[in-house]
Symmetry: C2
Subunit: 223 residues, 2 copies
């Protein structure tokens, strides 16, 4: 019997945001796969360790480069998928941890595609996104009634066009404050939450208060 | 000491999608407030009952009309907020249940606004949205890399404009298949998930398979 690969969402920082299903999936796996990209990995693992019993489990780190070199990036996925498939074929189940929700900008999707193509079963365990966690911390709805919700990475091609649309905009994946992000934040009411649910959590409503080299885990909610 | 009003996200159907924090918040409250709108209420309560100990708790139902009559709608919010404030001032804490995530199209936001204005503390417990749960069931990422994620109610004013944007579109809050929704689904690859995580869960990829009077809890993911 082959093992199963679980993609396990652990929420966005506060360990209480993990779901019962995520804790159960971790419990059923003998191997915990931790993707590592600039410190992310340790945070997902720190969250999981606070709510699930990790004793006796093998913890395997996978390094994924932030590099824009496509062949290097694909090679890192191939290496991880190959390692995981080896364990699955030996009957071990593997839980790959993921910050936020597993369907929203996760590395898991690339690995799962390869593992599935090799004939193994993958299960996706959804979780709380960083933007839902950030809105909850601010005590403010993201959207009501018929309002659209537009989630857009800071370097997205249609960033400017989407920012013009009515509805709530969530800006993610920004390293610091770019000029176009600054223009948006100077002209509209917003909440920015950095390190949501963690010790260093901060809420900003004035762009001048946000540090230049702000956390990558900052979510901007623009009304 | 006044009580606290908790807005508790219970996820989108499968009881395993509730978070540890939501179960804890329910445990800390002596009153469970259940908004009722066309059967939604009982589903949120059914989920909560499967994962939290409800013994000794008072369960209070609040009816919110689906009516477009604004004064009737506001009156229902005022009635609920007044009832809840009365309990909070007597020192009871209240957990208002919410399907999906508390910041995404929830009735709680209207009630919390009034309760907060009356001087009481409100806490928002985030959860798994129906679109994250639907993507996980399909084993498919919602968004990768720099793709935007556009969540749009079927009757939104800028529906057509947003559907033209690049990125993944999630269409929500549709009662059956309108003409404009049909046009979209006939021309693009999509997944539709109805009653996600529940007994009657169905995944559709062909518009002709979707029943005319499809469930209100159908999420359409259009690439």
């Amino acid at each position: 019997m082959s093992g199963i690969l679980y993609g396990v969402s652990v929420g966005s920082g506060d360990p209480e945001l993990i779901t019962l299903g995520a804790v159960k999936a971790i419990g059923e796996c003998s191997v915990i796969a931790v993707p590592r990209t600039k410190g992310e990995s340790s945070l997902a693992l720190t969250i999981a360790e606070q709510v699930a019993d990790m004793s006796g489990k093998e913890i395997v780190f996978f390094d994924f480069p932030m590099s824009l070199d496509k062949s290097e990036w694909e090679k890192s996925h191939e290496t991880a998928a190959k390692d995981i498939c080896g364990r699955l074929s030996e009957g071990m189940s593997v839980a790959m941890l993921c910050l936020g929700d597993i369907s929203v900008y996760s590395t898991f999707s690339y690995i799962a595609e390869r593992v599935k193509q090799s004939g193994f079963i993958c299960r996706w365990i959804p979780g709380v996104t960083s933007f839902c966690a950030a809105a909850a911390v601010c005590g403010s709805p993201l959207v009501s009634g018929n309002e659209p919700l537009i989630v857009v990475p800071a370097s997205s091609d249609n960033f400017d066009e989407l920012l013009k649309q009515s509805g709530t905009k969530v800006i993610m994946k920004s390293r610091g404050i770019s000029d176009r992000l600054r223009t948006v934040l100077e002209s509209r009411p917003f909440f920015a939450v950095s390190d949501c649910g963690m010790q260093g959590e901060r809420i900003y409503t004035d762009v001048n208060d946000i540090p230049e080299n702000g956390s990558y885990f900052t979510v901007y909610i623009v009304k």
